[in-house]
Amino acid sequence: MKPILEMRNISKRFTGVQALLDVDLQLFAGEIHSIIGQNGAGKSTLMKILSGTYTADSGVIYINGKQVQISSTADSAKLGIGIVYQELSLLNNLTVAENIFLGREIVNGVQLDNAKMSDMARKSLLELGIENIDVDQNVEVFSLAKRQLIEIAKVISIYPRILILDEPTAALTNEDTRRLFNILFKLKEQGICIVFISHRLAEIKKYCDSGTILMNGRVTANVRMNEVNELQIIEYMLEDNFNTFHRKWRTKQHKKQPLLELSDIYLHNQVNYVSCEIFPGEITGFTGLLGAGQDILWRIVYGAQRKDSGEIRINGKRVRITCPSDAVQFGIGLLTENRKEEGLFPEMTCQDNIALPSLKHFRIRKYTPLLHNRRIRNSCNDLAKRLSIKMRSLSAKVKLLSGGNQQKIIVSRWLMKDLDILVFIEPTRGVDVGAKTEIYRILESLASQGKAIVVISTDTTEILQLSDRIYIMVDGKISTTLNEPTDEETLARLIQGNPEKKVIA
C-alpha cells in the first residue's frame, strides 16, 4: 500500500533547541495513526509543520507520491489537511452553524442563507452521529466535550483527506472519549487518514492502528499497536539518562512541622478534595496528565483561581487567600508555565521585572514614594550573579533573553521578596538542556536553604530527578503519594491512572 502522506528527513531548529531532526512519517488512508512522545519531544512542532504554521528547515513532504510545498495554513487546507487544534478555535458569540460555515458562508444574493446553513450543519453533525446539539444555539452554552465535537464537525465539513487531532481528549471524560472514537472510526471507514496526538497511552493502545514515537525530536520507533504493549511504548518514549543532573533522594530525614497544609481543596469538575502537606527544605513534586488538576490546585492555593471549598493552613494557622497578593503576603510565590503571558513584562527591563513586587522595600525613607535606585540596582545585580543570569545589562529588555534566563528572572523576583514557599509550574518548558540543569541546581540550592519548593510538571523525568516526595494526580484527585524513589516506568504507569497495576515486573 502506498502512503497518502509522507514526510522525509524533516528538521526544524528554534533558537538553541533542535526541535526535530531527520524525522520520517508515513500516513496511510483509513488508518488512525498516533504520534507519541513526552512534552517537548516534537509532536506539536511536527504537526505545525504539516499545518503550515511553521516551515521545516529541511526535508520534503509528499502527498500521494507528489512533492508539495506547505508554507501557510491556506496551503495545507488546499491539500486536504484539516486540523483540530489543542485550544479550541470556535467563536463563542456565534452559533454552531455560523461557526461551522465561518469564512465560507452560503449566500443568496447578498443575503445569508441561514436556513440552508443550519440544515447543512445539522446534517453534517448527524453524519458524524452527533445528536442533541441545537445548531442555532451559541457555542458558549455547550460543554467542552460538545465543543470539541463541533470543532471536529467544522473541520470535517471541508472534507479533508487527513485529519489531525492535537490532544482532543485532554479535557474529555472516558465516556466522551469513547463517543469521539466512534466518530473517528466512521471517518476511518470513509478512507480518511486520522492523526491522533495524546498523552494517554491506554487510549492510544486501544483505538489507534499504528504509531510513531518521538523522543527529543527524533523518531525512536514506528509501531503497529497490535504488536506492542504499553510498557514497550513507554520505553521508546523515555530518554536514556544521559542528563548529568542527579539528585539524592532525601527520604524523611527529618520530622518537621509541615509549612503548608492543604485539606479538602475542592473545585467543581477540576479538583476533587485534595489534601497534602508541604515541608520546608524539600522539593515536592506534583505530576499527572495534562488536565489532571495539579496546576489548577496550585493556582487555587496562590489565589489566582476561585475554589469551592477547602482549607489552607500555613504553620498550622488557617489562612484566607482570595487573590495572589494575599498569597505573597503569606510567603507563597508562583511561577506560571506561560512566562510571556502571565509571568513577565516583556517590554520592560530586567531590573524592573525583578524588582517590581519588592519596590516598597526600596523607598528612600518609609512613607515617602521616592525609590532608592542604586539600592535596587545593587540588589538586582547580586541576584543576577547568584543565579548567573546572562544578560547584556540590567536595563536590557526582558524579551531579548533566552527562555532559561527569563525563567531565572522570575525566580530572582521572588527571591528578592524572600518568600518561604515557591511553586514552579512546568519550570523548564521551552528551556534548553543546559539551562534546564542550571534551573534544577537553583531549585536544589533553594530547598537546601530551607525553602519549601513545589514543582508541578508533566515531565516524569524531571519530577523524578528533582523531588523528595511525589504526589500523583489523576482526574483531580491525588491517586498516589510516593515517599521513596521509584523508577520511571512505574511513575509513567501511575500517571496513566491504573494504580491496581502498581507493580510492574
Partner: protein, 331 residues
C-alpha cells in the same frame, strides 16, 4: 426544573441587559412625568425623535464599530466639518444639490482615509479617530471663520418639514432606513457576521479565511457614510451650519451603544440593545432639558445618572453570568 421553566429562565437571562435598561428608562419616565405631565405627550415624543435623529443615525455606525471591538471618536467632528462645507459650497454656488453631494462625499472621503489607516496601516482606531476629531473640528472653524453660515434652502428644509401630520418627515424616514439597513447588514449578511467574528477573536476569524482587513475597512467606511447623512439631517433641522453642531455626538453614541448592553470589548451586540440604549439617552437628555436647570447642573446630573445606570447594568450582568453558570452545571 421543568423544561418549560428552564426555557423561560433562559430567555429572561438572554434578554436581561435589555430588560434592565428598559426598566431604567421606565424609572426615568416616571420621574420626568411627575415633574412635567406633558413629558409623554405626542408632541414631546415627536420632538425627542426629531432632535436626536442625527444621534440615532450615527449610533448605527457606532454599533458596528463597537461590535468589531473598535472605537470611533470622529463622528461629531465629521458632522460639523461636512455641515460647514455644505454651507460654504451653498454660499458660493447657490446649488444645494452640490452642497449635499459635498457633504456625503467629504464624510466618505475622510472616513475611508481613516479606515485605510486603521485596517491596512494597522494603527489603533482610537488614535486615528481621535486625531480626526481634533483636526476636523479645527478645519470646520477655519473655513467658517467661527461664524455660523445660514443655509436657506427649501430643498434642504424639506428633510425636516413634516409632510403628513406633525410627525412624518424625511428625517424620520432616514432614521428608519438607516436602522433597517444596519440591522439587515448585521444579521443577514456576511459583512455583519464577520464584524461579530472580528470582535470576538480577529485571529480566529483570519484563520477561518475571513478578509479581516477588508471588513474593518468596510465598517469604518459605512460609519462615515452614516455620519454624512446625520450631518444633513442636523443641518436641515437647524437651518444653518454652526460650530456647535455634533458636539459630543461621538461620545453620546458610544454611551448609548454600551448602556444598551453591547460589549465595549466587542463580539456581542445587537440593534435591539442599541435602540434601548438610545431610548434611555434620549429620554434623559430631553427630560433634563425640560427641568429648567442650569447647564452645569444638567451636565452633572446627566453624567451621574449615566454612571449609576452603567453600574446597575454591570450588576445585572454579574447576576446573569451567575445564573448562566448555575444553568450550565445542571446539564
Amino acid at each position: 426544573m421543568s423544561i418549560k421553566a428552564k426555557k423561560y429562565v433562559t430567555t429572561i437571562i438572554k434578554y436581561m441587559d435589555i430588560l434592565t435598561i428598559l426598566l431604567l428608562s421606565a424609572v426615568l419616565v416616571l420621574f420626568f412625568i411627575n415633574r412635567n405631565p406633558k413629558f409623554l405627550s405626542t408632541s414631546n415624543l415627536t420632538n425627542i425623535v426629531q432632535q436626536n435623529a442625527a444621534l440615532i443615525i450615527v449610533s448605527v455606525g457606532t454599533t458596528f464599530v463597537v461590535i468589531s471591538g473598535n472605537m470611533d471618536l470622529s463622528s461629531g467632528s465629521l458632522i460639523v466639518l461636512t455641515a460647514c462645507m455644505t454651507g460654504v459650497v451653498f454660499r458660493a454656488t447657490g446649488n444645494i444639490w452640490l452642497g449635499m453631494i459635498t457633504c456625503i462625499g467629504v464624510a466618505m472621503l475622510i472616513s475611508t482615509m481613516n479606515a485605510a489607516l486603521i485596517a491596512y496601516g494597522k494603527i489603533n482606531a482610537v488614535i486615528i479617530t481621535l486625531s480626526c476629531m481634533i483636526w476636523a473640528r479645527g478645519l470646520a472653524l477655519g473655513i467658517t471663520g467661527s461664524k455660523s453660515i445660514p443655509v436657506p434652502s427649501t430643498v434642504l428644509q424639506r428633510i425636516y418639514q413634516p409632510f403628513w401630520g406633525s410627525f412624518f418627515n424625511i428625517t424620520f424616514i432616514l432614521v428608519v432606513l438607516c436602522m433597517g439597513t444596519g440591522w439587515f447588514l448585521l444579521n443577514r449578511t456576511k459583512f455583519g457576521r464577520y464584524t461579530k467574528a472580528i470582535g470576538e477573536n480577529e485571529i480566529t476569524a483570519q484563520l477561518a479565511g475571513v478578509n479581516t482587513k477588508l471588513v474593518k475597512f468596510g465598517i469604518f467606511a459605512f460609519a462615515g457614510l452614516l455620519t454624512g447623512i446625520a450631518s444633513l439631517v442636523d443641518l436641515s433641522r437647524l437651518g444653518s451650519a454652526v460650530a456647535m453642531i455634533g458636539y459630543g455626538m461621538e461620545m453620546n453614541a458610544v454611551v448609548a451603544v454600551v448602556i444598551g448592553g453591547n460589549k465595549l470589548s466587542g463580539g456581542e451586540g445587537s440593534f435591539a440593545k442599541t435602540l434601548c440604549g438610545l431610548l434611555f439617552m434620549c429620554l434623559l437628555s430631553n427630560g433634563l432639558a425640560t427641568l429648567n436647570l442650569m447647564d452645569s447642573q444638567v451636565y452633572l446630573l446627566k453624567g451621574m445618572i449615566i454612571l449609576i445606570a452603567l453600574a446597575i447594568q454591570r450588576g445585572s450582568n454579574l447576576i446573569r453570568l451567575r445564573w448562566l453558570r448555575v444553568l450550565n452545571e445542571k446539564d
